[in-house]
Symmetry: C2
């Protein structure tokens, strides 16, 4: 039933979705729009999309399903712009990393009898660097793709069918889908995704200051150091919107880690250190 | 010139050294002692050693080179015990993760005309879990093996030749050797090794408390979470001695990270966040 998909934003995620759709057998058209032309041309060259759209709004107007794969504030902007343009027989969905504001905007602007359907989504997959050139058809394999859909959404039969079709495409890309409340989503990703990122950023920034002028020390740190700072390469452009739209939950998680580090520092020669290691061991043994 | 090597402690490092020695062509005998018999039997079964020594002191007495591959306080104990037993034509060396106390003990007890030679060493290689069964002939390939030798060491010709022979064996195992002052060593590893470890321990312990009862959330976190908590599996038994023998340097590094996290938390919606990300990006782009 899906003939045309539009991908707005052909960065790492948008390009990977295009590649994964093709790899899992989707045979309709995929048009792609990107803020910088070079990113769209790269995605086209990789056959993640089969045409470049010069106008995001026009691309969405012509598609059955439009995927917003841009940063969160750009997603919210496009949601506003498209809300009165799309029809009830079209679906808009996204990959934004925080879901509170996007899900609220969806309730306000979509999922009503005279509006298009909106399905808020968040694939738990990525790389520490972005860009179409890193696009990967297998990025979503064995990943979790979260949805924070609104149970009270009012959709046309076509809108509801497109939601179902998109969920099936995600499964065909190799992801496991989980439905979760948006507030719970944002609280949870603050712990398991945003806290690890900001920890790596702080650690990398600190180490750049302390040992950045002695590159041979990075070799000395070996695999452990490489892994603990890999996310230090993550782009601000993506994390700015996450920090701004999930501030309270991230503040809470960071404060908890600061306190935990202080406790550890004050107990380096005390029996409490053993308990901290045992508690940490438990987290890993369960995984 | 080396006929007999003794490895005291056949855990991950001791067993890996035995395997790496064999893989790089060492054809003399390798005897192994371990506090728990099972660890020595495992190393023997893997051919990392070719005989089990029941007594550590006796094994060292019979060897040209003895490698201490036990935790730091056990290393210091054995250094005391062996100092009056070994002869000037024997070499004792170690793999301890902090070098201040061990190098000071070496100056006090070894490297004198009537004493054996001692070469303080520290391979920057390991795994988050220990044990002979994880022993790996390639563990030291492309790793850095640090030495904190004393330029004023007084060694017999045989002692000096054994030091040179051991350094060559390390290179044959695939490691790059770097000589460094022991105080500088301990300060440096506090940043590039101990800080990442204690950060992973604090993060893992915190997450066990916050989301430990919801194992599906670990999947949600994906590769980023796995990498940032992998070191959470590290055993207290090894890190206790590191924390106790490098306390001041680790305290300093932990405090600096706490302050950095606080700064980041207080600037989640401020331009300073961009600078933190750019500083972190710099650390990674140099690597």
């Amino acid at each position: 039933m899906i003939q045309r998909i539009a991908i707005l934003g052909t960065g790492l995620l948008g390009t990977s979705v295009g590649l994964a759709l093709r790899a899992s057998g989707f045979s309709g058209s995929i048009s792609g729009w990107n803020r910088s032309k070079a990113g769209a041309e790269q995605a086209l060259a990789m056959r993640a999309i089969d045409s470049i759209a010069l106008d995001a709004i026009e691309a969405a107007r012509q598609a059955d399903i439009t995927l917003l794969a841009v940063p969160i504030y750009a997603t919210l902007d496009l949601m506003e712009q498209l809300s009165t343009i799309l029809t009830p027989s079209q679906l808009l969905t996204d990959v934004g990393s925080t879901k509170g504001q996007i899900t609220a905007a969806a309730a306000r602007l979509y999922n009503k009898p005279d509006r298009a359907a909106f399905l808020p989504g968040h694939p738990m997959a990525g790389k520490e660097r972005g860009g179409a050139e890193l696009g990967d058809a297998n990025l979503f394999r064995n990943a979790v793709w979260l949805f924070t859909d609104d149970p009270s959404a009012q959709r046309s039969a076509t809108g509801a069918a497109l939601v179902q079709a998109w969920r099936e495409l995600i499964v065909q890309m190799g992801s496991r889908t989980i439905d979760i409340d948006p507030a719970r989503h944002d609280e949870m990703v603050a712990w398991v995704s945003h806290l690890p990122q900001f920890t790596a950023t702080a650690l990398s920034a600190l180490l750049e200051e302390e040992v950045g002028d002695a590159p041979e020390l990075k070799d000395v740190g070996g695999r452990a150091l490489r892994e603990m700072t890999r996310l230090g390469a993550s782009p601000f452009s993506m994390w700015r919107d996450i920090a701004a739209t999930n501030t309270a939950a991230i503040e809470k998680a960071l404060l908890a880690l600061e306190q935990r580090l202080t406790y550890l520092r004050e107990n380096l020669r005390e029996p409490a250190l053993r308990q901290e290691f045992e508690q940490a061991n438990k987290f890993r043994s369960g995984s």
